[in-house]
Amino acid sequence: MEMATGNRALQLEEKLIFEQNSPGMTAVDLPNPAELTNVKSRLGDAARKDPIGLPGLSEPQVVRHYLRLSQKNFAIDGGFYPLGSCTMKHNPRLNEKMARLPGIADIHPLQPKATVQGAYELLDMTAHWLKVLTGMPAVAMSPAAGAHGELCGLMTIRVALEARGDARQRVLVPESAHGTNPASAHMCGYKVEAIPATGQGRVDLQALKKKLGPDVAAIMVTNPNTCGLFENEIIEITQAVHECGGLVYCDGANFNAIVGRVRPGDLGIDAMHLNLHKTFSTPHGGGGPGAGPVVLSEALEAYAPLPYIVHGKDGFDMVEHVADAGNDQPFGRMKGFHGQFGVIVRSLAYMLSMGAEGLRQASSDAVLNANYLMAELSDILTLSYDGPCMHEVLFDDRFLKDTDVTTLDFAKAMIDEGFHPMTMYFPLVVHGALLMEPTETEGKATLDEFIGVIRALAEKAQNGNADDFKAAPIYTPRRRLNETKAARTPVLIYQSEQAAAE
């Protein structure tokens, strides 16, 4: 039954801010001191002439607007996200408090260095944790996200190879890799070639060896890989690449499976980005911000980008210019200022809280939880590869064959049951992939409830209730949305009816 307002008790409709404009209204009262009125403009001939057209609202209206919007979102604070390769773990609230401390939030990156020694020390402390956890001698702290870290790692590799007079043109990327991998390689000027997977979902070492040669700059591996499996031949892989003179980049998105238990440095990795917003609990914020520091091997450390912390004679210093880099040869700068300090603070608060044993227990629980899902679901869903899995488990849509229910339909039905869908259609190496990563912050009761729901849905699909799946979700603020229409006729900004008519 539809209400006249479209509301449904606590589920409230909310218009756009542009549709709630009270001309002249503002929710910010600004001072109006006498000495600052009627001041003659110093903008030359560049003063704004026309109004902007921004809507004006009062504070109560603004608060209500965003409160109502927030209520339409699923969030990890509220429910389970079994999203493979995203590591949706709990975001500790302590992190938020620490990021807002005076002396943390209100410092400028270019203040006199003596006035921000605590900030430099914080960056250095976090760098130390990351180096010890990964067994690597150096880390570039400035990349803003995982993909940015990949780019940084590849740039470092390319510069290192050129420095030894051995520039190469090709980068090898497994078929199962995340799309950012080949995109990053391309942005670094490399040609990308795919490496096939074995029937066990891992990099085909023999096929890789056939592709190796003096023209291969690097391989980009993910370990554990995007199928949720540990590359059991990783050491042979890195050795083979090193033997032909290439270097090894590792996508560290899945580090949550092995943090505190396996060090990439021991596996022959030369560069690996860490996703602080995955393994290290910083919040996803609806899409960002993240941070993607890159740990580097001895072969690469001299080429890390600016800026970076060093221990000077008077305390900490930050090297911001090539001229101050001494024997190092930084290749340039990835980002304005120093990187994602606010995100780094949050990750440090988490690392300090967990401690060495806590992180080790976390990865262990993450792997345990994923294997539990595998054990309880692989008789009814189709498991893509034999286990054990690492922190995530991969199923494919063979169990939906002849049901007329697709992976997408299955995912939408999960929503009505109160779960965010798992990662769907990734990795591309299986058909209709369903990739589930529970993380260590879900308890057994939640997992059991989830297992019960998935089993029931799988049975329901196999018993021929496709129509129900096609109609899902039905209880959400919006039902399935027309993505074709959105792409064919893009409407990307609000236009009032009046403006549209003109």
């Binding site: 259609y425 993505e483 074709t484 792409a487 064919r488």
Partner: protein, 125 residues
């Protein structure tokens, strides 16, 4: 009467003399889902066989369309800009992408005819 040929990449070519009209097959549009955008080449551009000549996009995928033989683009289907859905509703006729003048009309001879293509598709499933 134009001869109709098909490639293994699911393109059709309707050949009239040395001009070929190129599009994607009905099977291909079904696989792709709702087409939201087609990137057609500029008239006057030359391609070698196998070069990427156009891109057809659905919501979740983008597929390259290759030049079936060496030649030069003489005309493109302007209607697709506003009506990309024509590729779904009428892939093998009104949903054509571009017309290409082949350097050597004989280059097309080796391609599959309609029966051979249907057999090829049946094999894929």
């Amino acid at each position: 009467m134009a001869t109709l040929k098909f490639t293994e990449d699911h393109e059709w070519i309707a050949i009239d003399g040395d001009i070929g009209t190129v599009g994607i097959s009905d099977y291909a549009q079904g696989q792709l889902g709702d087409v939201v955008y087609v990137e057609v080449p500029e008239a006057g551009t030359s391609f070698n066989k196998g070069d990427e000549a156009a891109v057809v996009e659905s919501v979740k995928a983008a597929s390259e369309v290759y030049a079936p033989a060496d030649g030069k683009i003489v005309e493109t289907n302007k209607d697709l800009e506003d009506n990309p859905g024509t590729v779904n509703s009428d892939a093998q006729s009104a949903g054509w992408f571009y017309k290409i003048k082949f350097n050597n009309a004989a280059d097309i001879d080796g391609l599959m005819d309609e029966n051979a293509y249907m057999a090829y598709v049946a094999e894929l499933n």
